[in-house]
């Protein structure tokens, strides 16, 4: 039976259970003499009955479904090995051929040997599927019957129901943890496989990056090099340019908006910053690659400089502008958290507004501003589309902003978007880079969030 049909059937069971339990309890209530003793509405008994039938059955279905594929795979592999069929291809590929034959024409196109395996596969699949259906349905039926017999007016139905709901809410809240764990495990697992092939030291400190593995051993560049230093330097160069643009502009616009601007300027400037923040990064990337980069190249040439058409400067500048709203809103938050009496004290002593800002407000807000800059740096390091479209692919080890450099995120994208088998060092390298990226941004974020939180507490 198809899963959707099975789930539908389970829902019908649950609905049946609900009505039966409600009916039973309301009948019992009606026969009572003292109506004042009734504390729980009949529908709660229904809910509890429905959930007792539904939840365990769904869980069971989920686990069986998870176990189904490995089981079928191992069965069919056993069959292949035992029946002396020569699988000279990779076993996975062999199985894939058989599984992808979902129409009669495709089955007919298989070799006789594979057809035989296909028959066996089909049999196993049908039996497993039937077994799962039978197990889940009988479990559900048992639970419905059990629930019917157990539920009576003495059951603390509302408390049980509310506990179940609270459990579900807690589960939803824990998804954040599961996501983090998922990220850590997926990048860590693939990275350890990568570091099994490439020593971690040569990855972290090697200065040559050329992940192209040649197909034949005698080709030029047959040995791939995975020294990630050029990528780290490139990432830092572009992020540094971006921060150089965004921190002063973002901070100053936050200061101007909160300390000087009248309501009219605010009414224009705030939406502009919000729009800048809302523009997708791919749009910035397009603009950087097709408008800013050629402009900078032509400008450089007219001044007699040689500028690469995918210069780090273009990507960094546009990225900086993208981050302005981010820096600005963070700075706005921390500046407005500075107590008003500090401001008034300074102005009362005769300082001008700019003196108050530079000598009182900024020093007072410094931890918060530093936290904001760290968050902005983490944004810049992890930014992908702008650099993918506007920065280069060649791994040059340079700090000259007029040359093309590549970044960690660019390499992750190029390594993973080609048609690659999943196990090559090349694709695994992407996960190692992902690990570096995740760890770096995690450290920056944790420090920044901690600093900002401490800063807030200081003035609360």
């Amino acid at each position: 039976m198809k899963i959707s049909a099975l789930i539908f059937l389970l829902l019908i069971f649950a609905a049946f259970s609900y009505f039966m339990a409600r009916q039973k309890v309301s009948t019992a209530y009606r026969q009572r003499k003292q109506k004042s003793k009734i504390l729980t509405l009949p529908k709660y008994f229904g809910y509890v009955a429905a959930l007792t039938a539904l939840l365990p059955a769904l869980l069971m279905l989920f686990f069986l479904q998870m176990a189904e594929e490995p089981y079928i795979n191992s069965e069919i592999s056993n069959y292949i090995v035992n029946s002396d069929i020569e699988a000279n291809e990779d076993l996975d590929l062999y199985l894939n051929d058989i599984k992808s034959a979902d129409t009669p024409e495709k089955v007919a196109a298989l070799t006789p040997e594979k057809q035989q395996v296909y028959q066996r596969y089909h049999e196993i699949e049908t039996t497993t599927n039937r077994t799962i259906t039978v197990i889940v349905l009988s479990l559900a039926i048992l639970l419905v019957i059990w629930g019917m017999r157990r539920i009576n007016t003495e059951t603390p139905a509302r408390r049980v129901f509310e506990k179940i709901i609270e459990g579900i809410l807690l589960l939803a809240a824990s998804i954040a943890i599961m996501t983090t764990v998922g990220i850590v495990f997926s990048v860590l697992f693939e990275s350890t496989r990568f570091f099994g092939e490439v020593p971690i030291m040569s990855f972290m400190f090697g200065t040559e990056w050329s992940p192209q593995t040649a197909i034949r051993a005698d080709q030029v560049g047959s040995s791939a090099a995975f020294g990630a230093v050029p990528l780290f330097v490139g990432t830092m160069l572009i992020s540094f340019i971006a921060l150089l643009v965004s921190v002063p502009l973002g901070l100053m616009s936050a200061i101007y908006l909160s300390e000087y601007a009248g309501s009219k300027i605010r009414a224009v400037a705030k939406p502009v910053l919000e729009i800048l923040a809302g523009i997708p990064t791919v749009v910035y990337g397009f603009f950087a690659a097709l408008t800013v980069a050629p402009f900078i190249r032509d400008l450089g040439q007219s001044m007699g400089l040689s500028v690469a058409s995918e210069s780090a400067l273009a990507a960094g500048l546009v990225m900086g502008i993208m981050i302005i709203p981010f820096v600005s809103s963070l700075s706005d938050d921390v500046l407005s958290a500075v107590p008003q009496n500090l401001r008034e004290g300074s102005l009362g002593l005769g300082a001008t507004r700019s003196e108050t800002i530079v000598k009182v407000l900024i020093p007072a807000a410094l931890p918060g501003i530093v936290g904001g800059v760290l968050l902005a740096a983490s944004r810049a390091i992890g930014e992908t589309m702008i650099v993918v479209m506007a920065a280069g692919l060649a791994a040059n080890l340079t700090v000259n902003p007029l040359e093309a450099v590549t970044t960690v995120t660019v390499q992750i994208v190029t390594l993973l978007t080609g048609d690659q088998e999943f196990d090559s060092a090349k694709t695994l390298a992407a996960f190692a880079l992902g690990l570096m990226l995740f760890v770096t941004t995690l450290i920056l974020n944790v420090i920044a969030l901690h600093v900002v939180r401490k800063y807030r507490e200081q003035y609360e």
Binding site: I168, S186, V272, F286, G382, V413
Partner: protein, 433 residues
């Protein structure tokens, strides 16, 4: 003594007075720098939008060439009463070629003929085929049809290729230019609004490429994202605001949420690739996986927005409900949640807008493939608007430049619309407690 004191105080005042000019100047400079930052941001935004707008304009009109074709059944290779399958296999290209050859009888050489036939788009024959399939009675008639022009012709007509350049620097050679001008003079060339752009899928030919596939892909992806992230985020926010005890585990959850909000989006793509595609073997390039990945990514945004909306509901409401005998759960679901819903919805829409513009994680899970067919469900391979922009931006053909900008405009239109709805909701339902 007295006079001395006055003198020194006079001196101090003088000192302050003297420095005042400089200090006020500094003040002015500081203020100007602040003003400059704001103006810089505004100017940049204007340049960005104007640049994209001007680049996009050509993509919204399509050049057509009107030709008179003879739909002779024998010529296209079908019998007198062709079935739809016969027509699908029929040779309509020949009919169009004949029409072009009739128009320019002086073209004889093989190479020149090939040039001539490239005046109309590769899609012209399908255009004709669809017309005949819709109305088979056209067979045997002489009809005038407006065929889609090739992107080179399109570029000449729109002025993207300068006709006055010397031939060696021009993409369209003199001979072809002469043909185009002859067609122009006889009034056979016309420009129309480019409906095709909104009604077709991707293509290798710039004039045939459309964004319907990408729009539908984005729609399905957002649908999955919304279906997953909204209930989970609201449930998580309710739990954290209303039920969570103060303990380490809850602290850990909160740290995780705050941190996930700052994890680079590409890392979520790696998660999707390793877990959902390789481990759970969900289909590649499908809106289903894209939606799951984006919902994990937007969860923190929606949770944070929902929490502040729930927090803004005044305690008196809760106390009244509890005082009347409602349970904690009833209080939350019957009273707090409805009151917080406008704020939650606003946060959700903003999260969805963020998901709509997201590109990097979807590149990782293979939504970057070249897909012509328009997706019909959440498991069909498809692409999304931002990735369509990325793909077209990478194409070398000139015609794609305008298409890219036009796709960006469509994307920005949807983003503005979503944000406008969010602002409207906020304004309409916002309550000051």
């Amino acid at each position: 003594m007295w006079s001395e004191n006055t003198e020194s105080s006079m001196n101090n005042t003088d000192l302050v007075r003297q420095s005042l000019k400089k200090r006020y100047l500094k003040e002015q400079i500081f203020k100007a720098v602040g003003m400059f930052s704001i103006v810089a941001a505004i100017v940049f935004l204007i340049i960005l939008l104007a640049d994209i707008f001007t680049k996009a304009m050509p993509a919204f009109s399509q050049t057509n060439i009107e030709l008179e074709v003879t739909l002779d059944a024998g010529e296209i290779g079908v019998g007198t009463n062709p079935t739809e399958q016969d027509l699908m296999a029929a040779d309509f290209r020949r009919v169009i070629r004949n029409a072009l050859a009739k128009q320019f009888p002086d073209v004889k050489k093989r190479k020149e003929k090939r040039e001539l036939y490239s005046l109309t788009s590769m899609g012209a024959e399908f255009q004709l085929r669809d017309m005949v399939i819709d109305d088979p009675s056209l067979l045997g008639q002489n009809i005038k049809v407006e065929f889609m022009a090739d992107d080179d012709v399109d570029a000449v007509i729109k002025g993207a290729i300068d006709r006055t350049l010397p031939e060696s620097d021009r993409r369209v050679k003199d001979q072809k230019l002469a043909w185009i001008e002859r067609l122009e003079q006889s009034g056979q060339i016309s420009k129309q609004f480019n409906w095709h752009f909104f009604s077709s899928g991707d293509s290798r030919e710039p004039e045939m490429a459309g964004i319907k596939g990408a729009i539908k892909g984005s729609f399905f992806t957002l649908l999955v994202t919304l279906a997953l992230s909204f209930p989970v985020a609201v449930a998580a926010a309710i739990y954290l605001e209303e039920f969570a005890p103060k303990n380490r585990f809850i602290d850990f959850i909160e740290i995780n949420i705050n941190n996930l909000a700052a994890v680079p989006s590409i890392v979520f793509g790696l998660l999707g690739l390793a877990v959902f595609i390789n481990f759970f073997s969900l289909p590649r390039s499908a809106p289903l996986v894209g939606g799951i990945v984006l919902s994990l990514m937007t969860l923190p945004t929606i949770i944070i927005a929902s929490r502040s909306a729930i927090k803004a509901v005044p305690p008196s409401l809760r106390e009244a409900a509890l005082g009347l005998g409602a349970s904690k759960m009833q209080t939350v679901f019957h009273h707090v949640l409805p009151a917080a819903l406008p704020g939650i919805l606003t946060g959700t829409i903003i999260g969805m807008a963020q998901a709509l513009g997201e590109t990097a994680p979807l590149l990782m899970i293979g939504m970057v493939a070249f897909i012509v067919d328009i997706p019909q469900g959440i498991t069909d391979p498809s692409t999304v608007l931002p990735i369509q922009v990325y793909l077209w931006a990478d194409s070398p053909e000139r015609g794609f430049l305008a298409k890219t900008s036009a796709a960006i405009m469509v994307l920005l239109f949807f983003l503005v619309a979503m944000n406008a709805i969010a602002i409207y909701l906020r304004k309409k339902f916002e309550k000051k407690w």
